[in-house]
Symmetry: C2
Subunit: 463 residues, 2 copies
């Protein structure tokens, strides 16, 4: 059963070229969040004007850094409300050398649109806006209330977003948030992402002698902080890859059998994946879990950087004064980054040997997200993708952190859904970023289908 | 029984001021081996002229880098020959700020001579040359044949010395080499150093993904080379501080009970030593050995530097592409650096996990030195120090490497002796380097006493 009226589908089809031109106009604005040349302000203004033109009450709202755009069209206060999220800022285009066309002069080749932001996230955002326009223009009205929130600092870690969401929680309140900033598991495999990992990022410093000292004259008498750090880090895993920080797994929501079964059917080629990363094989993770399970549903502990002593070319015979390691744990529901850091503090205090002083600094914390697969937003996303793309959509997780997802969940008290239209080879954050036009056009259909599907499921659950 | 004729002693006493002025003249030449301003050539010429003036056939000999000086005075080919070694090059004076007087304008304060090289090694070399002069001038002749070898690149690791020694082995041939480039264990404790540690210095690189990759998207699936390196390094020791490289201890000459007993009587204040290095206590070395034993007579494995991944301020969420560690093993007789490196290669090959590639580079190798304490050179050194300084000399080892000692032993087939006149607070390689004038004057007496003592013990052993 189609939830998108034939007129809306026809409108989207008839206006493809115009919608592509609109996207190209937005892509020509080099809106890089950490560049202060007015481009972000122009992109925000462009989004506001576009939203106003298609029928929304839209406003540019200052947020402490680059401005945000908030828009809404309230059809009927008794109907559910969907908040559409996207971001107009893009990654810097460097390195420029490998680009086959100007990153800010969008170019179509072989049915793909090449430009910085073509996928991430201007293209995906525009698919959503085309859907909203089509409903209003071709069906006369939206099937439910819609709010739109376009951010301008996503690519630099959204430094102002948490207080902004808290301050504007009422204005942004909704029954779900749909985030189109993710991708298909594989071409032809429409995907809803229902979980993201969290993060606990800390740095451990070990201090030995007051200064670097001669390793010949003193070696053997004094504890070496680099050797001590290696021992400390090595002890963070057991031989099976399990993390040995006290309490590390206490709050982990176990992977469900249904999830494992479903993921086993995914078209995942382990050898091809390993080849793409330049490794001989996938090993070293927690025993008893497949690579996908380890990336998506199991917590990790990885060193991100280590340094101590003499690191230039050649040799210097010293016992270093200190050693430093940066470590990040990816967390899964319902691990709490604060508790993990507490466990790290306890582990380090218990395992730093005599003669060595230690310090721990916390660099970042992010909570994991796990949206129930039965949530109306997830089910509506599945129905919308099925309707727009054909084929059976899959439910997947993602190992990375998209902190705004958890912030929406916590501050707006909703189950957000990640319904993205990208493909794995879209070169996000890299030269020659692209967006398949088929994904763009069908993505707009999926965005259009999401609204009635969500309204219906939401009403049924309540009823 | 005094081996130094009264006339020789009286000559040394009467000429102290003139000898001090001669040393000052040499100290005013800023002969830094890695500076090409002609100073080293002038210092070499000064040494040649001085040796010629006191009665030696002396020559400046080019060596590929800074020139060496070779001199000899053959009294009687049937008598034994002593080779005196020293170096005219000095460390750079930086940092200049803390110097209380110009490093190249020697200044006496409180009975100490302050200048770069005052101890290391111009002062100690000059003590030897004064002794030779005194024998010839006051006794009419040396008590045995003497050769002198003055090097000009000691402070930069003697890069040209091994081929030079090999090429001039006949010209330098002797029955022992006396090296005055070491120090007393403590003030008032004259010391002969009869062993030095060797060195095996290598660098291990582990390669993981072809580039740094996202620790969220990929973390858990791929082995992390920094974590793997920590594990590899941690496994190089067991919990008792024993080195776990295969075969590491196979060739170690055990510490003798007499040595342990002798060292226990040395005035070593463990707490004061720890305080001087800025550590809370001495721990972490091999179990079952005292700190002195660990520094002097036991091999070690110390990381000198480690680096991998993101090492700037703040955080970056990557699985690094590679990780590197520099490791040096201090070796004791009769460990062979080549065999140790072979053991490291075997250990690494056996313990690098799947999914990680490794490389090993060797940066330095030096063989350890252990001169029998009964060797004529050692016994002559003890007798000479006793005669010159009073008090009972001690036999000590040193944890560092002085590679020329082993090169003399191997290439000239002799048992060298390290008879030095420095004190532990002489600030070698640091600002305000000094040499106690008492050590200088008594050092010359010790150098004078060494020759007849050695000649006698050598003759007795042969007879």
């Amino acid at each position: 059963m189609s939830a998108v009226p034939q007129a809306v589908r026809a409108y989207l089809e008839a206006n493809r070229q115009r919608h592509l031109e609109a996207l190209k106009a937005l892509l020509r604005i080099p809106s890089i969040a950490n560049v202060n040349d007015g481009a972000c302000e122009r992109a925000a203004q462009w989004c506001r004007d576009h939203l106003a033109a298609i029928g929304f009450a839209a406003e540019v709202v200052q947020a402490g850094g680059k401005p945000n755009v908030i828009a809404e069209r309230i059809v009927d206060p008794t109907r559910p409300t969907v908040l559409v999220y996207g971001h107009y800022d893009v990654q810097p285009p460097d390195p420029l050398g490998p680009w086959r066309s100007d990153p800010f002069e969008p170019t179509v080749r072989d049915g793909r649109l090449y430009a910085r932001g073509a996928n991430d996230d201007k293209g995906q955002l525009m698919a959503q806006l085309c859907a909203l326009e089509a409903w209003i223009a071709a069906a006369g009205e939206l099937p439910c209330n819609v709010k739109v929130f376009v951010e301008g600092e996503e690519e630099i870690g959204s430094p102002h977003i948490e207080p902004f969401l808290a301050a504007h929680a009422h204005r942004l309140s909704a029954d779900t948030v749909v985030i189109s900033d993710s991708e298909f598991f594989a071409p032809g495999v429409p995907s809803i992402t229902y979980a993201l990992r969290g993060l606990a990022y800390f740095e451990i410093t070990l201090h030995g002698p007051a200064a670097d000292i001669h390793s010949g004259i003193h070696g053997g008498a004094v504890r070496n902080p680099v050797n001590a750090l290696a021992r400390l880090v090595a002890g963070m895993h057991d031989d099976t890859g399990r993390v040995m920080i006290p309490g590390f797994y206490d709050d982990v929501v176990p992977l469900m059998d249904e999830e494992r079964d479903a993921w086993e059917t995914l078209p995942f080629d382990e050898a091809a994946y390993a080849w793409s990363l330049g490794v001989e094989g996938l090993s070293g993770g927690e025993a008893g879990y497949s690579p996908l399970e380890r990336r998506w549903a199991r917590p990790t502990l990885d060193c991100n950087g280590i340094v101590g002593g003499y690191i230039e070319a050649g040799s210097k015979t010293i016992i270093p004064a200190s050693a430093h390691v940066k470590v990040s744990c990816r967390l899964v529901a319902r691990q709490d980054p604060r508790r993990i850091i507490d466990g790290v503090r306890a582990y380090v205090a218990a395992n730093v040997p005599p003669g060595i002083r230690h310090e721990i600094a916390v660099h970042a914390e992010a909570r994991p997200v796990l949206v129930p697969r039965q949530a109306p937003s997830v089910q509506a996303g599945v129905a919308a993708l099925r309707e727009a793309f054909g084929g059976e959509p899959v439910l997947i997780r993602c190992g990375a952190s998209v902190p705004i997802t958890e912030q929406f969940q916590r501050l707006l008290q909703v189950d957000p859904v990640l319904m993205g239209f990208g493909l794995p080879d879209d070169n996000l954050h890299s030269p020659n970023e692209k967006f398949d036009l088929g994904q763009f056009y069908n993505g707009a259909v999926a965005a259009a289908a999401f609204l009635p599907h969500f309204a219906e499921i939401h009403a049924n659950r309540r009823g």
